[in-house]
């Protein structure tokens, strides 16, 4: 273990036969921060050849930073990495390959051409291409990862492209594969066959595999060991045989309730202010039915990528292919345009503050007018605008939410995340919407800004608004919600009617184990 890295063992025989204690990827004391933001603290990991190591963690737990360090894209602030006893320096190692969630393939090229990308200089002859095709076919047969080397990538399914990525990594000579949420875009049937193939690669070819995932069932199905990252620390590491999903869920979400519980003081007046009936978006949302009463805050929990953004789109009037019904106060609303929903009394705080909420390059006053410039008092007759009304509204909202801006004309892009969110909230709340749909409202915000957003939501609920909170932050959900539903792969898989909510059960349901929650 303490052999100096300089003793060259680069010519060792295949790992499967020789996997001694020195083999594998060893990370020790890895730390990394971005500015004041500490992303990784003292993480030590050992990935052995021939094993599948599952790495769990919520969004922002530090998984992708760790992987970027491992692939040499990012230098660590502290710590060492050795790969089969060779020190890993900047630029990474040929032995480690990452398969990204978003594939790094050129769609208009064939599989074989993609394999040769960046590995050949000058003209690639037909002979070279044919040889590569043969190599790919041989490798495909050997590994059981079926693949047609002469097919154009854009004709392949997501699952096939995934296999191409894995084959390419193996073809490059990788002995350690980092798979970043490899099942994220796959159909359920494909998920199982991919997981089986991953196991085969480890067991039969001695490949060391890191499987990054949110799905607890995949961990149990494919992994040998599992590590959990939370807040930049490796908080647990166990053999899969010894863990339960409840344990994993608890490790993943932690136990500390951050900022206190703010459940509704008064009994919600009930009723059905917002009601979704069988709302589906092909491939994204499956028959979602839920209701939110006046004065009630219902949270939609779930790991991102399980249909939250589609749900947000539907309620924003931006999901063209949605089916099912949305009712506001028992009246069905046309969801084909954002305006119809707004006119029906729905206010949206979008998850993506800058692509949907604010135009960075324009002033706060303009940004605040975006939703209301077509109606009086901002609009005057004959298509004209009242600039004074725009200014007054901006001043009013800036004052009401204490937005830190020197003037209404301050560019929105110069505001901090928290104050940008105040502008969005202020704009939405100024219309006193009866229904508020809030998506990931505190993402990227610091504690103080988070507190402000939460207080604002609670205050609005107290005034009788029906609030639907779409969030992947369990602290937020447990602190605010009156009811929780869990979205998993586009379906509501669990409902929790009354707090205090069982975080383990919530975490399990978010990871796809609804039976635990039931």
């Amino acid at each position: 273990m303490v052999t100096p890295a300089s003793t060259s063992r680069i010519t060792t025989a295949p790992a499967a036969e020789l996997s001694g204690a020195d083999d594998g990827v060893v990370m020790q004391g890895i730390a990394r921060s971005f500015g004041d933001n500490i992303v990784l603290r003292d993480v030590s990991l050992h990935i052995r050849p021939g094993e599948v190591y599952a790495l769990l963690g919520e969004n922002g737990a530090g998984k992708s930073t760790l992987m970027r360090i491992l692939t040499g894209l990012l230098p660590p602030d502290a710590g060492t990495i050795t790969v089969d006893d060779l020190t890993l320096d900047a630029g990474g190692s040929d032995r480690i390959a990452m398969v990204h969630q978003h594939f790094m393939l050129v769609p208009s090229m064939t599989v074989a051409e993609n394999f040769l990308l960046g590995r050949s200089r000058g003209v690639v002859g037909r002979g070279r291409l044919r040889r590569t095709c043969d190599e790919i076919s041989a490798l495909a047969a050997e590994t059981g990862l079926a693949c047609d080397p002469s097919a154009r990538v854009d004709t392949l399914s997501v699952g096939e492209q995934q296999r191409v990525e894995i084959l390419r990594a193996l073809h490059l000579g990788a002995r350690y594969l980092l798979l970043d949420e490899p099942t994220a875009n796959l159909a359920p049937a494909e998920v199982h066959s991919l997981l089986a193939q991953i196991r085969d690669l480890a067991v039969e070819r001695g490949v060391g595999i890191v499987l990054i995932t949110h799905h607890l069932e995949e961990v149990l199905e494919a992994a040998d060991r599992v590590g959990v990252l939370r807040g930049g620390r490796l908080v647990a590491e166990k053999p899969v045989a010894e863990v339960t999903t409840a344990e994993l869920a608890r490790d993943m979400v932690g136990r500390d309730v951050g900022l206190g519980i703010r459940r509704a003081a008064a009994e919600p007046s009930g009723g059905r202010m917002l009601e979704l009936v069988g709302v589906s978006v092909p491939g994204k949302l499956d028959e979602v039915t839920l209701r939110v009463g006046a004065g009630q805050l219902v949270a939609v929990a779930g790991v991102e990528g399980n249909g939250q953004s589609s749900l947000e789109d539907v309620l924003s009037g931006l999901a063209a292919d949605a089916s099912g019904a949305v009712r506001i106060a028992d009246r069905e609303v046309d969801i084909s345009s954002p305006r119809f929903l707004r006119d029906a009394g729905v206010g949206i705080v979008p998850s993506d503050r800058y692509t949907r909420g604010l135009v960075k390059s324009l002033g706060i006053d303009t940004n605040l007018a975006v939703d209301s410039y077509t109606t009086p008092p901002l609009a005057r007759r004959g298509g004209r605008l009242s600039r004074s009304a725009i200014r007054e509204r901006a001043e009013r909202i800036i004052a009401a939410l204490s937005v830190k801006a020197s003037s209404p004309r301050t560019l929105a892009g110069t505001l901090s995340g928290g104050h940008a969110q105040r502008v969005v909230l202020g704009r939405v709340l100024d219309g006193a919407p009866a229904v508020l749909v809030v998506a990931q409202p505190t993402r990227g915000l610091d504690v103080g800004a988070t507190e402000f957003v939460w207080d604002t939501l609670v205050e609005h609920r107290a005034r009788g608004a029906a609030i639907l909170l779409i969030s992947s932050d369990l602290d937020e959900i447990c602190s605010l919600a009156d009811r929780v539903v869990v979205l998993y792969r586009g379906r509501i898989v669990a409902e929790f009617d009354e707090g205090p909510f069982d975080r383990e059960a919530l975490g399990s349901a978010m990871g796809g184990f609804q039976e635990v929650a039931a």
């Binding site: 924003s316 009037g317 931006l318 345009s337 954002p338 305006r339 707004r342 949206i348 979008p350 692509t355 949907r356 909420g357 604010l358 135009v359 960075k360 390059s361 324009l362 303009t366 007018a369 975006v370 939703d371 410039y373 077509t374 609009a379 298509g383 004209r384 605008l385 600039r387 020197s406 003037s407 004309r409 301050t410 560019l411 110069t414």
Partner: protein
């Protein structure tokens, strides 16, 4: 407020951030064009030296050719007129994020339409005659501009390419028009007959300044108002800066783009009609002179501000007149004027990027 500055104890309070940011934005708005002009003229001076001339003398001649007297001023103003109108059209389109380069086509089709109307319709001397011509030319320009707009809005076709191709289409329509339907039977080159006298734009007696100049003068505040104080002006700004925010707030991105395309086309069409009826008096291939591209220089240098566009048009127009004069008197190639324009644009683009990155 100040962050630990070791300034004299009784110093004036530092300007608050709002004033400072406004100052800075003023500095870039005004500073970049001036920087561009300076760099352009400096490069021009080097070229003049290389061509064997004296930069001071050459620039003096240019200035004189642009502003030296009533005749020169009249020529400058009539030369500026189409640049201002087209530049305003580009400003509206660019504000919407619609990066058309199709004004040459709008301008040509405006000229064709104007020629066709005055040469073939018996409008006579009625006072409605000229407005009718202007409106038909505007409609024709809007139709051509609208094609690129609809292609972009409905199908996502790149407007730079489609508008450029439409320029060719219109140019060959012009070439056909002056050879076939409107060909002058006595002409030596492909051209139409001279427009009837009633159709020539009235001028201020004793000058070359025709009423088309006043159309441009009126268009400047009108476009400024349209951008600043109307619903369309507002939605075009949002669409231009962030189509996704616009869509999320129920602003129709497609409709806004098409409207912008129509307006910029109409302004180009009017410019073409004014040039035909005020300066050219007959349709020929010379009408299609590249002014639609020169106006891009004007729109960028004027920073899409209507009043900035007037200044930029004066500069560009003066440079063109001046470099022609320099060629006549000092045998320095007039193309130096074009080079100076090009350098100015490159400077503007470069400075814009530098300012953006510094933010």
């Amino acid at each position: 407020m100040s962050t630990g500055m070791l300034s004299p104890p009784v110093a004036a309070p530092p300007p608050d951030p709002a004033t400072r940011s406004r100052l800075r934005s003023l500095l870039t708005t005004v500073g970049i064009p001036f920087l561009a002009v300076a760099v352009g003229l400096a490069v021009g001076a080097v070229l003049i030296v290389l061509a064997g001339g004296n930069p001071g003398e050459a620039y003096a001649t240019m200035l004189n050719a642009a502003l030296g007297g009533d005749t020169q001023l009249g020529r400058l103003l009539t030369g500026m007129t189409p640049l201002v109108l087209i530049g305003l059209g580009y400003a509206i389109a660019y504000r919407t994020g619609f990066i058309t380069i199709g004004a040459q086509g709008h301008y040509d089709v405006g000229a064709i339409t104007a020629a066709a109307v005055v040469l073939s319709l018996p409008l006579g001397t009625s006072w409605v005659a000229i407005p009718v011509v202007a409106v038909t030319a505007a409609v024709a320009g809007a139709c051509v501009g609208g094609i690129a707009g609809v292609l972009k809005a409905r199908l996502g076709v790149n407007e730079i390419i489609s508008s450029l191709m439409l320029n060719y289409l219109v140019f060959y329509a012009l070439a056909w028009t002056v050879r076939k339907p409107l060909a002058n039977p006595n002409g030596f080159t492909p051209e139409s007959e001279r427009i009837p006298d009633w159709a020539a734009l009235a001028t201020i007696p004793g000058t070359r300044i025709h009423i088309g100049v006043f159309v441009a003068v009126a268009a400047v505040p009108l476009v400024w108002w349209l951008m600043r104080s109307t619903r369309f002006g507002f939605s075009s700004q949002i669409v231009g800066e962030s189509p996704s925010v616009a869509a999320a707030n129920g602003i129709s991105v497609a409709r806004t783009i098409v409207t912008s395309a129509l307006i910029s086309g109409a302004l180009g069409g009017i410019a073409g009609a004014i040039m035909l009826l005020g300066s050219e008096f007959r349709l020929s291939l010379a009408v299609s002179s590249g002014i639609g591209f020169t106006a891009i220089v004007v729109a960028l240098l004027g920073r899409r501000n209507p009043f900035g566009i007037v200044l930029a048009a004066a500069l560009v127009s003066g440079l063109t007149l001046g470099s022609q004069a320099v060629q006549r008197t000092q045998e320095i190639p007039a193309s130096i004027g074009t080079v100076v324009q090009a350098v100015m644009i490159l400077t503007v683009l470069l400075a814009n990027r530098i300012v953006e990155r510094a933010r």
